[in-house]
């Protein structure tokens, strides 16, 4: 018995240490993650990519609640009458535009993409019409544009934001998520997770994890986008000074890229689902920026189209922070309508 206990203790120790070490290693966890994406089940780790049922469904474990399940249905057909051209298109964007292929854009010769929160690695191409689109979802607008609180001299947009302002706690959170992934990312454990999430939904009438139900309970929202406070929220107070700062920062970014040889620079803010689907109490961040008379940058105004629609449900997926195929194509059409002019 004593020997058995000793073996058990040593096993726990070795496995525990290995798990702690592995969870601290980005390389290892990503390797496992890649393996899982190929061989594993339906659920995807983190929310880097759209999961097939929606990132919010994954995060809240509401896989059993049919009302929030809506599969990713993006189509990337070449628009009719679209051909190759001489526009070098650059998109500095986020997960909304990450998967969009070059085939959907008209009149382009190349498409290069980078994340808006990372360094911009590209240089304009000689002999081409260089068009840059800076796209970001609404919840990141204030965070990304407020790299500094110094309102008088915005820094050059070499890096828009160091780490989303959240770099400090990210390592502990990263390790914790890795551990959860390594220890509990098994399909046989899903019933426990989904049972708890369904219990919370049915008995307490709320979402789990980072998700919140919309007031009409038809949608899942990302918690920080509906919080009363915080820069990510559609309902937190936005001062006029903040709006003005965003506008000045956008102008500054415009000048920076213009000076670096880009022919056209556009901004595009994709409204958070809560902004469009639950507009009561909206802080008006996007329209206030877009309608500011000081703004000299052209903007792809998705907000106006989405918010004026009598049927805004069609622009977003029920269990996802991202837009639907329909919403995405409205944006692509707007971009193409400009691209064909060059």
């Amino acid at each position: 018995m004593r020997k058995f206990k000793s073996i058990c203790a040593n096993t726990v120790l070795v496995v525990g240490l290995a798990v702690l070490l592995a969870a601290s290693s980005k390389w290892f966890v990503f390797a496992v993650w890649n393996w899982h994406n190929v061989h594993g089940g339906d659920r995807k780790w983190y929310m880097i990519y759209h999961s097939s049922w929606g990132d919010l469904v994954s995060q809240s474990n509401l896989d059993n609640e049919k009302m929030y399940l809506e599969r990713k249905n993006y189509t990337y057909d070449r628009p009719v009458g679209c051909g190759k051209g001489h526009v070098a298109l650059y998109i500095l964007g986020d997960s909304y535009t990450r998967d969009i292929p070059d085939s959907v854009f008209c009149n382009i010769s190349s498409l290069e993409k980078s994340r808006v929160t990372q360094a911009f690695p590209f240089k304009p191409k000689a002999g081409k019409k260089n068009v840059l689109i800076i796209e970001m979802t609404e919840r990141y607008v204030r965070e990304v544009l407020h790299v500094t609180t110094d309102f008088s001299s915005p820094p050059p947009p070499r890096r828009f934001a160091a780490s989303g302002g959240d770099g400090v706690k990210s390592y502990a959170a990263f390790t914790n998520r890795n551990l959860e992934y390594l220890l509990f990312h098994f399909n046989f454990l899903n019933p426990v997770r989904t049972a708890k999430a369904s219990f919370v939904l049915k008995v307490f009438g709320r979402g789990s994890g980072n998700t919140v139900l919309s007031k009409d309970t038809k949608y899942l929202f990302f918690r920080s986008t509906v919080a009363p406070n915080g820069r990510f929220s559609s309902y937190s107070i936005v001062t006029d000074a903040e709006v003005e700062f965003c506008v000045r920062k956008m102008n500054f970014i415009y000048d920076h890229f213009k000076a670096n040889g880009y022919d056209e620079i556009y901004f595009s803010f994709i409204p958070s689902p809560a902004t469009i689907l639950q507009p009561g109490g909206y802080n008006g961040l996007i329209p206030r920026i877009q309608q500011n008379p000081m703004l000299k940058v052209k903007v792809f105004d998705v907000f106006s189209v989405f918010s004026s629609s009598p049927n805004p449900d069609i622009f977003y997926r029920k269990g996802d922070t991202h837009w639907s195929n329909h919403g995405m194509h409205i944006w692509i059409d707007m971009v193409n309508s400009e691209l064909v002019r060059y």
């Binding site: 798990v19 969870a23 502990a172 959170a173 914790n176 959860e180 009438g205 709320r206 994890g209």
Partner: protein, 466 residues
Amino acid sequence: MVFNSLHFLVFFIVVTVWFFRMQHQKSRIWLLLLSSCYFYMMFIPVYILILFFTILVDYYAGLLLERTDGRRRKLILSGSIAANLGVLVFFKYFDFLSTSLQPLLHALFPSVRVPYLDLLLPIGLSFHTFQALSYTIEVYRGNQRAEKDLAVYALYVMYYPQLVAGPIERPQNMLGQFHEFRPYNWDNVKEGLLRMSWGFFKKMVVADRVAMIVDHVYDTRSHQSSLSLVIGAIAYSVQIYCDFSGYSDIAIGASKVMGIKLMENFRNPYGAQGLAEFWKRWHISLSTWFRDYLYIPLGGNRKGIIRTRFNVFVVFILSGLWHGANWTFGLWGVVHGFLVTVFPGLKNIKSGIAKGGRSVAAIRVTATFTLVTLLWIFFRAPTVQDGFAYVAGIFSFSGSRLSTGLNTNEFLLAIFVSVLMFVAEARIKRFYFRSDILFYISICLAVNVCYFLGVVGETKFIYFQF
């Protein structure tokens, strides 16, 4: 690393199993020290250098104090205190002082501009600073021999269960335990794990649930009725107790598993019959720290009634500011100090049962709880103005529409688990079952209750910010 995370669970299992596999105390000391470094570095790794700095200063100060006589001892002690408080003031109070003094400085010296550093506060800074201070003071007083082993002293400051939110320990209690080899003891393991389970229950099931009420009410204060504001204030009293005492329970339990006893930090504080009694039951390790290292050196109650009250008042003001660099904490401390010193009727009310029976005791407990709850409002409010607006909202008697942010089922559950927790706290004397079967059943029950009824996430403990 927060206690209510999977990361801590794995970390705790690995460290504890490894601890008991080691046959020499020296190895155990190093294991606990390195584990504590890992634990601390999960927040902001580079800040460990601050800890190393103060550890080295205090370690050598202790050694020097033991070897030195006369006035130089005072100088060494002052140096150690200055180093510790210097770090504390720089990180915690610099911006507060600079913004508070800026108008005055600007008026006197228009060209002077004090910078705003916007530094991130090292986690648990106030806790380990006070713990480190108690070491050098005790060595200076001759109550504690200077620790010769640097690793043991470093562990005294960095011991992971109580590193970031106490209890604030004393060298007399801890250093001896670190030197003593403690063999594996199943009773300690059972008691420690049960205590931890109770702490997790308080944090995950009670505190984080009522926190949803608190956040909702405070975030939408201007739209709330008086009734909702009252509920929000009571909910915060429950939250802060369960959050902080839950942390203490987990810390005490985690340490107990390894056979190391930490001091108790709470003794049913909301059962107090007066404010002075409340402070003998709430955050005991801090209250006694202020008593031993501030109140008594100031003269305690030995220099007449006025001086005694002045001393108490000073302690409360500093206790308020210890919690944070904000006028809300200062005001909270001032009002507590004022009530304890100026209204002796609220102070030292002896057993209500003996004096006026159970009903009088119940009235006193209720009155004390009400007072404490009203003052917690300033502790929770982001600004003093918000605090006053909240109190004004309560006394505006503006309707009885109840909005808690929870649905009826969850609101009733929040009430049920809160009452259950307080009743159990008043009755439980020791977290221990002689029967192994009962122990296993309790642990299984606790795991299931915490998972299915707990608010599982990465919510931080309130006292981490201090």
